[in-house]
Amino acid sequence: MSCNTVTFKRGSSFSASMVWNPEPGGIANLVGVTVTSSIIDAQQNEYDLTATVAPGGLSVAFVYPGSTADWAIGTAKWDIKFLNGGTVFYSETMRIDLIGQVTA
């Protein structure tokens, strides 16, 4: 597993695509699983992402519909919540090093 920290320049449109890698004995796909995700910046502002599970349940597309220009400079935290029936589980927390843009 690689380091879960990335650098992101605020102002850019934030989107991400996720691939579900099932393992034996685990959940085969995300069909029927509710996927939600949020980002909390360095000033504890929370930004909810729009998650769309692809047909087949093996991938999810995340998009922040607003502008990221106002996100606080610093380290933001991001994870993904999965609700499968009555069971809730989360991904590991990813870190996003938000840096300011130069060009206005």
């Binding site: 597993m1 690689s2 380091c3 879960n4 920290t5 990335v6 650098t7 992101f8 320049k9 850019s12 449109s13 934030f14 989107s15 991400a16 695509s17 996720m18 691939v19 579900w20 890698n21 099932p22 393992e23 004995g25 685990g26 959940i27 993904i80 999965f82 499968n84 069971t87 589980f89 989360y90 991904s91 590991e92 990813m94 996003i96 090093d97």
Partner: protein, 315 residues
């Protein structure tokens, strides 16, 4: 499980590569998995709604299959084809063969030495009277013969109704023949025997009450206590008017209950004897009913009709 996340516009800090950054991260375990089921083929495939699992092979674990519940082996139809009985064992189930040994509730016909509970001495209800009860009643002196009846045969050519007054007109098959009696002449009245108890069809047999109580007839037109005589005008019926010569006098009974359906007559047939019916009569007393009563001379006295004859006094 893991996730591979691609983020356009981001830079992977580790690799420093330009966008899109790709992260592979773990996912929290949902929870402990439940215990695994026992070894075996499990529930067999197939089947239809309403079917049941059935053991198919003795001694072979998990040998089951889907079957439809079939009770035909446990049921059989009766002769009526609409009644079902439990037919086969396990023990304790009633089989159709066993049911054939039971008498029906309605009009049972018992065989063998049928028995019943002996009612208490003096019991007088709808209990079954056993031979023991009858014997005790006879020994106790409580059994009273209310009627004297005789079995008769009707060959008159038509049905004789209940309550009809009949006379013995012959005999056949060890039974007396009966004919409607009428007090119009000696032949139709002299052998009057009694009242028909219940209707007797032509060529049928029944009972005539010779002495006793004739019940359940219409006596509504009669007064209780009135005496009845054999009718000289209508065969088989009675009259409350005492017949006189040339009609014949046959006293048949007395009304003891006046009722349209539950009337009762005490049957006590007494044939009147005309003088020409008496034995050892004088040869010249041929038609005494034509004679007036009184002294006949030479010691002979002719009494009134129906009165005892008085023999002449000698010396």
């Amino acid at each position: 499980m893991s996730l591979t996340i691609t983020i356009p516009g981001a830079v992977d800090v580790t690799t420093g590569s330009m966008a899109p950054a790709v992260l592979t991260i773990g996912v929290g375990v949902p929870g402990a998995q439940g215990p695994q089921g026992p070894a075996g083929p499990g529930v067999p495939a197939g089947g239809t709604a309403g079917q049941y699992l059935q053991k198919t092979t003795t001694g072979v674990d998990y040998a089951t299959d889907w079957v439809t519940l079939n009770l035909s082996a446990y049921l059989t139809t009766s002769a009526a084809a609409s009644t079902y009985y439990l037919q086969t064992n396990p023990a304790g189930y009633i089989t159709s063969a066993a049911l054939s040994g039971y008498a029906p509730l309605a009009s049972p016909v018992f065989t063998g030495d049928a028995r019943a509970v002996t009612p208490a001495f003096g019991d007088n209800d709808t209990s079954i009277a056993t031979t023991a009860f009858v014997q005790s009643a006879l020994l106790g002196g409580t059994a009273v013969a209310r009627n004297l009846e005789v079995e008769v045969r009707n060959q008159s050519g038509s049905t004789i109704a209940a309550g009809s007054i009949v006379y013995i007109s012959g005999a056949t098959g060890n039974k007396p023949l009966i004919t409607l009696a009428q007090a119009n002449n000696d032949a139709n009245s002299a052998q009057t025997i009694g009242f028909v108890k219940t209707s007797i069809a032509n060529n049928g047999t029944g009972f005539v009450i010779v002495r006793g109580e004739l019940e359940n007839i219409d006596t509504s037109a009669l007064t209780e206590g009135v005496q009845l005589y054999l009718s000289p005008t209508t065969a088989g019926t009675w009259t409350t008017t005492k017949p006189s010569a040339p009609q014949h006098l046959v006293y048949v009974g007395i009304v003891i209950r006046s009722h349209p359906t539950l009337g009762t007559i005490l049957v006590a047939v007494q044939n009147g004897y005309e003088l020409d019916l008496l034995g050892s009569r004088p040869a010249d007393f041929v038609r005494p009913h034509r004679l007036r009563s009184g002294v006949l001379g030479h010691g002979w006295f002719l009494p009134a009709y129906g009165q005892p004859f008085v023999f002449p006094r000698r010396g």
